[in-house]
């Protein structure tokens, strides 16, 4: 399970990082979202992975650490808010700057991520 989990987190963050470095706002936002998922999964695993343990003390003999779940909940809420904000901001930038390029202009070489 650890191998699969780390593979998923790794692929998610690698694709997130790749998209984050693109030149247009839409891929950048998708990149941020992917990176956010990777981070949330990573946070979820930070107390150690365990398949047969509830996060409630008394429900199982060796309960799992409840703190990461509380943290990941907070992180998800904040992450959603931020993603929503960036999406709106990108739409605003598209209308104000007349281009969906992150720099606000159609660069000759910067024309990537089409």
């Amino acid at each position: 399970m650890e191998a699969l989990f780390s593979l998923v987190v790794g692929v998610l963050s690698a694709s997130g990082l790749y998209l984050l470095l693109r030149g247009r706002t839409f891929p950048v936002i998708v990149g941020l979202a992917l990176l956010g998922y990777a981070v949330n999964l990573f946070l979820f695993s930070m107390g150690g992975l365990n398949t047969h343990a509830a996060a409630v003390i008394g429900e199982s003999i060796s309960p799992t650490d409840p703190l990461p779940q509380a943290l990941v909940l907070t992180a998800i809420v904040i992450g959603f808010a931020m993603t929503a904000f960036v999406v709106i901001l990108a739409i605003r930038a598209r209308s104000e700057l007349g281009s969906d390029h992150v720099d606000g202009q159609q660069g000759e070489e910067g024309d990537v991520g089409r």
Binding site: L32, G48, T64, I78, F85, L89, D103
Partner: protein, 512 residues
């Protein structure tokens, strides 16, 4: 002191922000009155907390009465009291200035301003790393909206970069927290410090990785090289009172670095790496910012680069790590923050009277109140370049005295040359603004009274910090000594006996 006073710097602006956001239909005058009186009350509360912390006593406040290390605690020591005071003073100047009309250019300025103060004060008070993340997000989200206040092409473009960078930075912050939690099993700073001190092998390597990632995140907030490229554009695009308030934002990063460096990772293998990174990037930041100061063709980016010079100076000072260096940098910190804030406001007032030319360094029409503005500009320029008799000179002198050996070889010339660059740039800007003007009618109106009061309030810090130089430097020295002794807060918060803590679940690593 009432034991609940410590949470007031968070609650006061939070309740105020909610009230201001809910009463959106009330007149601007009402909004301003509430916002200014709230901020003035914040200054009073911070003053009380400062006088309490000056006694050297550490105050802890367990939220919901959950005991550390399980619950979230707020911690007030001399450093956080100093930062609270600085925030409140800067905020009062900015809000007075904004009340002259900048707040009417968009919606909900005052509510967002108060939310920003919630985030700042919370970040300075919290004793828990995850809570630090949450307060960072609060202050960032408020700053995104404030930056966009009034709209316009430049702001949206700069804002997009700023927001994307900070969201990516937050992701890195969370990864660092996850790594540190995985290695130490706690997020409370004092508890983590205690556990890091006894770590070895793989765990220690994880802690080092987490610590360095944290420092990268904080360097992004503090705008240290190579993570500063967002700052000049963002700060010069922001509305003047917001840019002035942002002068404290880089110091939040510095505060967080100081906090984790002196408290958590002081004995860990990560300490050496952090110091080396801070020292060399701090020096390189000074160099590049000084070049930027000389190259700027507009007053606003010029001031933004001056903010960067101070960031580089402060972080190089933090890398020295001695008590004398920390004393010096804590003396220099309030001065440079307030003066950079005041400069943004003065630039705005100058821009208002120059018509289309704004703050660009070109020949333009004559200023309406050139004697008043010239006087203000002169005081601010002398202060920011670090010339005697104002506080900048004293702060830099203290910092240079704190450097020893080969550090002196690097710090002295860079610091002095950066001061010279600032002086050259400011004299050039001043002569363009006040001397190189076309003859003819002046059309712009006068500076309004709240604007002038706001600027004078901030500018007064430069002479005051010299006049009260003795008590202030005594306070910062006591702060540095308190920071140099991180065992004390740990002992007071968690007790003497480390075995009495419940060991968190360790045996969850195996998968069936």
């Amino acid at each position: 002191m009432n034991q609940h006073l410590i949470i007031l710097p968070i609650l006061l602006p939070m309740v105020g922000a909610l009230a201001l956001l809910l009463m959106g239909k009330a007149s601007f005058a009402t909004h301003r009155r509430i916002s200014v009186s709230l901020t003035a009350a914040l200054v009073a509360v911070s003053l009380l907390l400062l006088s309490h912390a000056a006694s050297g006593e550490l105050t802890f406040y367990s939220l919901g009465n959950w005991q550390a290390p399980f619950g979230i605690v707020l911690m007030l020591d001399r450093l956080s009291a100093l930062m609270l005071m600085l925030t409140a003073v800067l905020a009062l100047g900015c809000i007075l200035f904004a009340s002259a009309g900048d707040d009417t250019k968009g919606s909900n300025f005052h509510g967002l301003f108060q939310l920003q103060l919630v985030g700042l004060n919370g970040a300075f008070l919290t004793g828990d790393l995850f809570n630090l993340f949450v307060f960072f997000e609060i202050l960032l989200l408020a700053s995104y909206a404030l930056l966009m206040h009034g709209g316009g092409k430049a702001r949206v473009g700069a804002g997009l970069h700023y927001v994307i960078l900070n969201v990516a930075g937050s992701a890195l912050f969370l990864i660092a927290l996850g790594v540190l939690y995985g290695a130490t099993g706690t997020l409370n700073m004092a508890d983590m410090a205690r556990r890091v001190a006894t770590m070895s092998g793989d765990q220690a390597a994880l802690v080092t990785a987490g610590a360095l990632m944290l420092v990268v995140v904080f360097s992004l907030k503090a705008a240290l090289l190579p993570l500063y490229f967002w700052l000049p554009r963002t700060y010069s695009a922001a509305p003047a009172p917001v840019a002035a308030l942002f002068a404290i934002m880089t110091k939040v990063g510095l505060y967080a670095i100081l906090r984790v460096q002196t408290m958590i990772f002081v004995d860990s293998p990560a300490a050496g790496g952090i110091t080396a990174w801070l020292w060399w990037s701090g020096l390189a930041t000074i160099v590049l910012a000084a070049v930027g100061v000389l190259a700027a063709r507009d007053m606003r980016p010029l001031i933004a680069y001056l903010v960067l010079v101070s960031v580089g100076t402060l972080l190089a000072g933090a890398a020295l790590g001695t008590t004398a260096a920390t004393t010096a940098l804590l003396y220099y910190l309030p001065h440079t923050t307030l003066i950079c804030g005041a400069l943004f406001l003065i630039a705005e007032m100058i821009g208002q009277q120059r018509g289309k030319a704004g703050t660009r360094l070109v020949r333009a029409r004559r200023l309406h109140q050139r004697h008043l503005l010239g006087g203000l500009f002169l005081v601010a320029a002398v202060a920011v370049a670090g010339l005697p008799p104002l506080a900048g000179a004293l702060g830099k002198l203290l910092l240079m005295q704190a450097a020893e050996g080969s550090e002196r070889l690097w710090l002295w010339p860079l610091l002095l040359l950066a001061g010279l660059c600032a002086l050259i740039a400011m004299s050039r800007a001043g002569s363009v603004f006040f001397w190189a003007s076309y003859k003819g009618e002046v059309t712009a109106g006068k500076i309004s009274r709240p604007q002038l009061i706001g600027v004078l309030w901030l500018l007064a810090s430069a002479p005051l910090l010299v006049i009260f130089g003795g008590p202030v430097s005594a306070y910062t020295q006591a702060t540095a000594e308190q920071l140099a002794n991180p065992q004390e807060p740990i002992r007071q918060l968690l007790g003497d006996d480390p075995t009495q803590q419940i060991v968190l679940i360790q045996d969850t690593g195996e998968s069936p």
